[in-house]
Each structure stands twice: as C-alpha cells, then as structure tokens.
Symmetry: D2
Subunit: 353 residues, 4 copies
C-alpha cells in the first residue's frame, strides 16, 4: 500500500531554479526529531524557543527575536511595526516586497510602496532622496521606512560601508530601515562579516532559515527596542504565531550549531561562483550582475533559453533583456554545476571545458 | 558544547493544558524525513502536495484543498473567500475566530463578527436568525457567512443532523457556511462518521493537522467551487504560501496513512472520556459540558484550582464560573490520566479510586 | 421647463423621524452665501476656516479642530488616531459606531469593537471593566479606547460627574476616551453646562453641526495634543478633506454666532419634552428612557405603531419591545408636536387634551 | 460684534492656483436655498435626489448614480466596486489616485496601483499591456482595473476614439475601466461631445461638480450594472453617505439646469486658452502640454517663478523641469487673465501686448 502512496521513489535531480527547491538539511531534520519528546508550553514559552531566541539575540545584538513561517510574513510584520496609516515605504521596483508578495504590503499593512528603479537592486541615499519630496503635504503619503534586501533580489550585496552610509542618511532624515534578509546568510558569507555588522545599521531585519537549509522558518530580528511592544500582538494578528513554536526554533538551533548557517551559505555561494565562472566563457552567455551571493543572473542568447529549460528548469528574470536566474542551494554539488555547465555548452555549441 | 545547547534533557511530562502542547507523532516525523530528498518545485507543484491534495479531496468530496500554516490562518482565509467588504460573519461569542485570533477577522479581512451567546458553543437556525434583522439596510453590515466550529471550543459536537438543519437554513437564507475544523478529526471520531458527512453541509472548512499529531499544518477544504478562483492569490497575500510546501503536505500524508488521523483522534477522545469519567465522582468537580471530543470542561471548587495548577498546568476557561479546560492529546496515556486524577483526588480529599 | 424640474412645490410637513430630516437653518444658508465671494486657498487655509477653528478651539479648550463631512467620518477618524493595529474599542452594543456605520470601524480602521449591553446607552467603569480581561494576552485584541456617545443613541445624557468618573477610570487603566458628539449640543443644552465641561474629560470628540441646523458639517475636536500629528494625513486618507473647506467652516461660524447652536438645541430639546409630556398620559404609550435631549423613546401598544406611521414616519427602535423613536429638530414647532399628539390620541382612543 | 467675526471684508482676487479656490456659482447657492424647506427623508430618499439621479442617469446612460462628498471619495468608491482583494489598478504615475489621495487606494481599498509613466497623462493599450505580465502568478497582484482621468491631471483630453480604443483593449483583456471625471465637464466642453459619448466606454466614472461651480458634490456614475449591488453599502462604509443628501443633489440640479455645467466648463476652458495664447509669446514661457481643458501647464524660466508667485499663487507641477500649473475656473474673467499676463510680461521684461 505504502508504495502507491510514495510520491517520489528517487530524489529529483538538483536544479538551479530556486534555493527553495532544495529539501531540508539533515541536521535540521535531526533537530526536529530531538525537539519532539513530551509536552511543552505552546506559542513559544518552551526551552527550544528560549535557546534560539537567546542565540540569535546575541548574534545580532538584537532587542528581540520573533519566529514566523515565511519570508513574506517576516517582511510584512517588520514594516508593520514601523508605520502609521499614512506612512509609506521606499524600496526598489524589484523588491520582493513590491513584486512577489501578492500585494500584502498594500492589503495587510495598508501602505503605499514608493519605488525607485535600481538595476543592481540596491538603494542609495541619492535614490531614496528622490522620494522624499512630498513630506508634510497632507495629500500625500509620508515616507517613513526604507526597505532594502540583503543579499538583493539580483544577487548583489550592500557592503557594510554602503549600509552604514544609507543608515546614516535615513537617521538624519527621520527614516527607519528594514532589511529583508531572506538570504542574509549568503550576504554575510560573501562579505565575510559577523551578522551583527549587518544588523547594527537597521531597525529591524529578517533572517531567513528556509533558503539556508531549514524546512520553513524565518526570524524577525528587532534592533530598535521602541518597536518591540507591538510585535507579539501583530504577529498573532498576521497569522504567524506557531502553536508548536519549538519546531521553528529547533530549525534555527540546528543552523546555529557549529555555524551550519554559514557553512551552508558559503557552499551555496561557492557553487554559484563555480557556475558563473564556468558560464562566463560560453558564447551567448553574459553575466548581468556580479555574483555576490548564491545567484547567477545572466543574459542569454534567446535561442538557448527554452531548450536549456527543457531539462533544467529556471526562472526567466527579465524577458525583455533575456536575463535568467540560476540559484545554487546548500545541497548543490560540484557535479550538479558541472552537469549544468555541460548542458549549456552543448546547446551553445561551445567546446567542453 | 552541544550539551549546553540542548534545551531539554528529558521530555516534559504530559499535561492537560492543550493538545498543542504535545509534540509530533513519530510517523509524521518520519514522513518529513522521507520527503526531504532532492529538489522539487516550490510552492506546491510537487508530488507530495499532489498526493495529499488528491487524498483529502477524495476524503472530503472537495472542490479544492489548500495547505496553510496554522488554524487562525485557515479560518481567516476561509471567510475571506466568502465576503464582500460590507458583509459580516455570524458566529458564537466564544468562537476562536472572535476571541483568539488577535482581531485578524477585523483587520485582515475587514469584516464585523456578529456574535450570539451559546453556552454549548453551537449555533442553531434560531440563534442565527436573531442576527439577520438588518438585511438590506445600507447603514448596517450584511450577514453573509455563518461560521461554526466542529468540535466546538467547549468540546461539544454538532451532530450530522444538526449540521444538515443549519446548512439548510443557511442556504434558504442566502448564507454561506464556514466550519473551523481545528479539531475536526476529534468530531469525526466521536460521531463515527466519514469526513465527507461533515463537509457536505458547508461551503468551506478547515481540517486541522496540528492538534492531531502534526508539527504544524492545516488544510483549507473548499467545497463550493465558486470560491476556488481566489484562493491561491489570497493565500499568498495572507502570507500562508509555503515555499517548501512538500513538508506541509507530507504531514497530511502521514496522518492519512492507515487512518492515523482517526486513530489519534479516537485515542485523545478516549483519554478525555477516561479523565471525565474519573473526575465525575470527585467532590468539587462538576462537568460543565458533555465530553464529545478530546476536551473536558469542568466547574471546580475554587479552592482546588490554583493548587492543582501548580503541578498540572491547564487553562481557566471561565474565571467567573470557575470552569477549567483539560485537553487530551494523541500522546496522552492512561497513566497520565490516572496520575492527574490522583492529584485531583488528593487535593479534593477524595479516596483514591 | 423649470417647473417640471422643481422637486417639491411645497415644503414637506415636519415629522419626528430624525433630526436630519430637517433642512438648513436660514442663518447657515446666509453664511454660505457670505462665504462665497472670490478665490481663497483650498483645503482649509482660508479665513473662514481659521475663524471657526479658533472659536471652536476656545469653546472646547481644544488642541486642534478638524472639519469633516459627516458623523460616521468624525467617529472613524477620531478612533483612528488612538489605535494601533491590534487595539480595540469598548462601546455599547447600541453605539452608532457599532450598528450604524456600515462596518467602517472594522474595515476602515481595522479594529474590533468590544461591546457591552447598556439599556440606557451609557458606559460605566463597571461595564468597561468587564472587557479588560484579556490584557497582555497576545491572542486577543487589546482594549485601548472607550467610545461613548453624548447625548446617547437613546436620548440620555452622561452627567458631568459621570463623565468625570468614567474618565478617571480610563486614565487609571491606560484607556483613551472618544466621545461621539453628533448631538453634543443637545446634551450641553440639557445639562446647562459649557461645552468645555464636556470635552475636558475626553481625548477627542466630535461636535455635530448637521443635526443642529447645518447642511452637513461635523467637527473633530482633539483635546489630547499627542493625537494631533496624524490628523491631517488620516483625514485626507479617509476621504474627508474638503477642497472648498470654507463652506464647512462657514456653517460652524453661523452656528456659533449668538450661540445659535445652543438656541437650536434648547428648542429641539423643549419640543421633545413637550412631546413626551403630552404622550405620557396616552394609553398604550410608555416612555422607555428619560428625555434628556431631543429624542423621545417610547414603548407603544403594537396596534398603534403601523397606523401612526402611515401619516407620521418614524423609526421602530426595538421591534421586540415595540419601542419607537421620535426626534425633534431645530425647526420642529409646537404646532407640529401638538398635531402629532392629536394623531396619537386619536389612534389610541384617548380624549383630546 | 459680527464685523469682528467676518473673516473677509472683500472678496479675494481671482488667482490661477486651482479651480477649487473659486467659490460657488450663484445658481448653485440659490438651489441650496430652494432645497431647504421642510422635512424630507434623509440619506437620499427625497425628491431632489430622485430628480438629480434621473437627470444624470439619462445624460450618461447610466445604470446608477450615487452622490459623494469629494473627488477622492468618488475615485476610491469607484475602484472599490471592481476589485477582489488581490486585484490591482493600472494607472499613470501622475494619476490623482496615485499621488494626491493620501494613500487611500492602498489603505481604504487595500489594492496596489501598477503605474506607468505618461508625460501627457494618458494611458494607451500599449502602456497598459506593459503591466499585464504577471497574470495568473499567485505571487503577484492581478491587474483588473484601468483607471484613467478625463481631463487628465496635466490638462489633456482623451479623444472619443482614444477612449474607444482603450476600452476595446480592456474588454478584450478582461479589464474594467474607471474614469476619474473630476474635470469631465471641461473635457466634454473641449471635445464638444455629449457626456454619454465619454461614459459609454467605461464601467464607472465620476462626474465632478466641485471644480465646476458646486460647493462640494461629486457623482459616481455606474455604467456596468453588475457593479450596482454593492454601491450603497460601500458608500456608507466609506463614510460618504450624506444624511441631508438633498443638498448634494440640489447642486447637481443647478448645474444641469440650462446646461450650466457646460457653460461653466466652456468659460473656464476659454479663459485657459486666453491665458495660454497670451503667455505663448512671452520669453521664458514654454507651453508644456496642449491646452485641452481649463489648465495651462508651462515650463518657466526659473528666475520668473518665485517673483511671480509672490502676488499670484500657483502650483509648481514639476520642480525639476520648472513646470508650473495655472488653472482657470468658472468665475475667472478676461480681466483676471489679462492682469496675470501683464504681471508675467512685466517680470519677463516683455513688451505689454
């Protein structure tokens, strides 16, 4: 009977579509099992949650840590803490918050997103200042939050200096900073800096576990203690309070053990670099953005795209410019990369390396 | 090092505070591990999700099945599908939707809840009709959805006939029915009927996995096909679209294998009955509601409450009436029940049984 | 041609359905004409608005005054200033905010209304305290605002002492107070006190012009200066910023000249008393609430209701108890009252007075 | 006493800042007085409302007509009728809905606005199609409404053919069309077509009275009868249901009498043309958009702007391009235009004409 019910007899081949196509790291699975004995208080008053909260608070220098189910929720909860009803968020046009969250910012938070175009996915003081013109005008929303993504949606990273400069500008202009850290681990791995070097410049951020080898767990890290009071209530209202919270916390505990989060991120970044390095010389492949995390964004000869996707699914990032996205995950192997590169070379008529 | 990081060296003792104080059933844990190999498409286009969806669709006779993270989300998503901006939900004063969801109905859905008092937690056509007076009056919200809970928040169950009668009334009055099934398994176990006998009377319902031995997974079961179109978009907007969806689905697959959901529910119900039967004769303990699922609601001699809670945490349901709630879970043992009964008897000065 | 376009050749007879069935006081009409010459800055930066704002600020001892179009808007804007997303309002079941605003509190503000039953329409510290039980529980909305109505929806008034006692309780319990003053003029006339004696006990209130002889103008009076910052932005967002603001202000200027507001309110109150006094002795008519403003609420012999409404439209307030509402307006005459009383007497078979 | 209370002893000079700086047309004032006798049913069940509704329904070929207080409200109500929670509106970046409504679309409706850049303020099928790429993707909002403005925010008009072409495209692509007609009268006057030639191409539109000589009254004109059911309830919920509705209706009756609306619009348009014609030859003045309604948009020598605004207030439309906006109103005279032109010429060092 069970064989009929087994959905996949053999693991599917690794592909480069998204880091959330990957499964769960074995250490995370183990941690879930270890967290499973006996009864503990629901909703977070349990030792696993206490431990993960303490460890993340220390790592980030945080005022508070709150677990939620997914990245959209972390973003929405984070900006919710910062906004009055008429206040707005400044972000890039390509921000996940703007394009990939189903309109949650507008409907769940009720705020307008003031977008600026940024090919490399990064905001600067100059770009932010272009959206500050309407301050004090009661007819217009009032900018209050600058939302950035680290690593960005196009695989780039803010340097620590860039973060510091943006943060200084925001403080001087009465703006709070939220950082979408769905791939913060990859940014920290690329930059080679402690997590606290990234968090110190913002008022709140998310720290993504899911794309880093977890099953499904994100942490909202609150740096600005003035924002703390409302979090538990808004998290519950936004349907993000897990009853069996220990299982969200246990995932983070596993990622924190022996810096598994960092090892996973370094590995994924390395695989992306291997892919980019190998693809760089193939005719019809042009890297579109520098590879600063675990994603490769490349403009392809249009004739290559669909044939390549037949066996290797991946996202077309910008159809007009023929830009595609290839993501490496914690479990991507060198062989996976090399097999993919071979497929590209074959289609491009390039010699095998 | 790791020992310092181990939050709980021994499993905590089972208590009767809530069925979500329990951990995860071993078969569910196993299923999570089995789902973990290789890359699959994110967001639900994977074989585990296809399988769980097909099995639940068949079991419920459903038009569509959609997984979400928790029970509040299932309720909010469910009623969201049914309401125009000025339409309202009729429910009991004690409905989870009304009292325990942090105001999500009002803020996330934007709807008013028209409540009626019901000591046994059950709506009737007569009770519903008391809230229909304002129909057609543009100054007032328009009732559109009747939201019920099965099993109810006070441990009672609608009989299939009661459901049928309520459903008939609602259809005749242009009302849709949503059923909060956070403990639907316990209701089906008590009533001894197939799940489809319960779902056939409603437009949408939730089917709770979390309190039934899952780690954290609920299913929104849509019966009325007119409601289907909007679900994927609203689920995403409400921050309930899991990227690694296979792990929500795998939990349901485990619960469906060999009717584990039913065995878990029967066991929890049996433990609640054992507790109720044992407690019934103890001086100072009066059963407040019939035990029709896995919860025991009893009015206690006030002098017993705090001493008993010192070692055995549980919720005070109604402080004014000294009503307490004791919940049994899938992993509650006869020894747990008997130890708890002994503790009650000792405090009550009753002879050991 | 124009005669065909004239909708009403003769004025309709005064009835007792609602004080907003009345037209506009001639002095208000004159003020609109006088405000009409030349160009002035839109949106409130004009001399009429400055004057009305200054006069109302002085009369109420207010921190700020903001004009809006109608009473629902004044209520919604007022509570919007006071609430974080998870905070709730305590009000009576019969509050206009709860029953007659189309669900605006829930959809526009996004807040839950925690209601208490109060036959006389008045909240007390004791009633409010019944809704404070869930403070600090993240699963539940957090009470933050107590919303009262003065005069109440059933024609009663809080005494100044009652207001003071309620306000003291609220301050001591971290609650803000909003007062719906759609008929505040009638309350002030009944109580014989300055407006400032009423406003001093609350954080914000509305002052209704429309039911007092204006064409359509309400003022939000903000007492608590901590609430001021957000008002202009939220008023605009809630679609209540008039471009030709001078015409809202001019209506208030007319009502303030020579205390027209007070004379109108006293007259309406007197007509309600005349009606109540005359009706009190008629068989089948029982006054249901004391007459403390411009409304008479009476329980009628059911056989009288529909025959009487044939010629004299009025609202049935409570169909179960056969309670009806009769409202007097600024332009109700003694003859109107006496004619209505004659009609009641005739139907009741009572001797003419 | 009253002199101290008179805010403006002499009418302020006409300026070109906005058409809502003007007062009320005398015929509208007269109509308000004529509507003022006696008691009529509140909330729109009165003869003035019936008459205005019938006349506007006929003029537009409408399925329904609903009065509201201001233009922002008409826009918000209009799009509210058309959208499910995850659906979005396509509009220009410069749309009033996007920039000048305080974020009401996002907070009150809860929808995302998908904007496109359009210097002339007009959407085309080509521009709309650039925002249709995400259809069917559950991660993204789904475009459902195309919102246009006629006359546009920069004084241009869609020709009837352009409207027809856009409407055809929208119908073919499952999109509804909403038209912001705050200055629809000016567009109809410019185009020389009946109102019905404009309305026939859209699903709903607003018809602005305020900028056309009313005191404050806008009509939502519903063409698509499938949208009708919800209007009364949503209008109330959005705080736009006037109790003394007759005074909104009376304003429209006055504007409809002898086509006052058209005469007012033609006059304002003519004054704008006179201003544009006179300004065209002045050094340092370059018309930026064709004058197709009652506004003149011109790029000025930066040195002229502030000196000119000292005596003649007007808005700077685009600070970067030194574009200013001059609006003519129904009461702008040739002398006003000529005096303003003289002032410009004097500052520009140009010979008097």
């Amino acid at each position: 009977v069970t064989s009929a019910l087994t959905p996949a007899s053999t693991p599917a081949r690794t592909n480069f579509s998204s880091d959330n196509y990957a499964g769960v790291h074995p250490a995370v699975l183990d941690a879930l099992g270890e967290a499973s004995g006996g009864h503990v208080t629901a909703y977070g008053d349990d030792p696993w949650t206490a431990l993960a909260t303490a460890r993340l608070s220390e790592a980030f220098g945080a005022a508070g840590v709150f677990f939620v189910f997914n990245g959209t929720a972390a973003n929405v909860l984070g900006i919710s803490l910062m906004l009055r009803p008429y206040e707005a968020v400044i972000c890039t046009e390509g921000a996940h918050l703007n394009v990939d969250e189903g309109g949650a910012a507008e409907r769940i938070v009720g705020c307008k997103l003031l977008t600026v175009s940024a090919a490399d996915g990064k905001l600067t003081p100059e770009l932010v200042s272009t959206r500050l013109g309407s301050r004090g005008d009661e007819h217009r929303v009032q900018p209050r939050v600058v939302a950035i993504t680290q690593a960005t949606e196009v695989g780039t990273c803010y340097t620590v200096d860039e973060l510091a400069r943006l943060a200084e500008f925001c403080r001087a202009n009465g703006l709070l900073v939220f950082m979408d850290g769905a791939r913060l681990a990859n940014a920290a791995a690329f930059l080679g800096c402690p997590l606290a070097d990234l968090s110190v410049h913002v008022d709140a951020l998310s720290f993504g576990g899911t794309k880093n080898g977890a099953m499904g767990a994100e942490a909202l890290i609150v740096m600005n203690s003035a924002l703390l009071t409302t979090v538990p209530f808004v998290r519950k209202q936004q349907m993000q309070l897990a009853s069996k919270m220990r299982y969200l916390a246990a995932q983070f505990n596993a990622l924190l053990d022996d810096d598994l989060w960092l090892r996973n991120a370094r590995h994924a970044n390395a695989m992306a670099h291997r892919l980019a390095d190998g693809a760089a010389g193939i005719p019809g492949v042009d890297l579109w953005q520098p590879v600063e995390s675990n994603g490769v964004f490349a403009a392809l000869d249009p004739a290559l795209i669909e044939p390549l996707r037949r066996d290797w699914p991946f996202h077309i990032w910008d159809p007009d410019q023929h830009v595609v996205r290839w993501m490496a995950a914690f479990d991507t192997t060198k062989d996976d990369v090399d097999a993919f590169l071979s497929a590209i070379r074959a289609l491009a008529g390039a010699p095998t390396s």
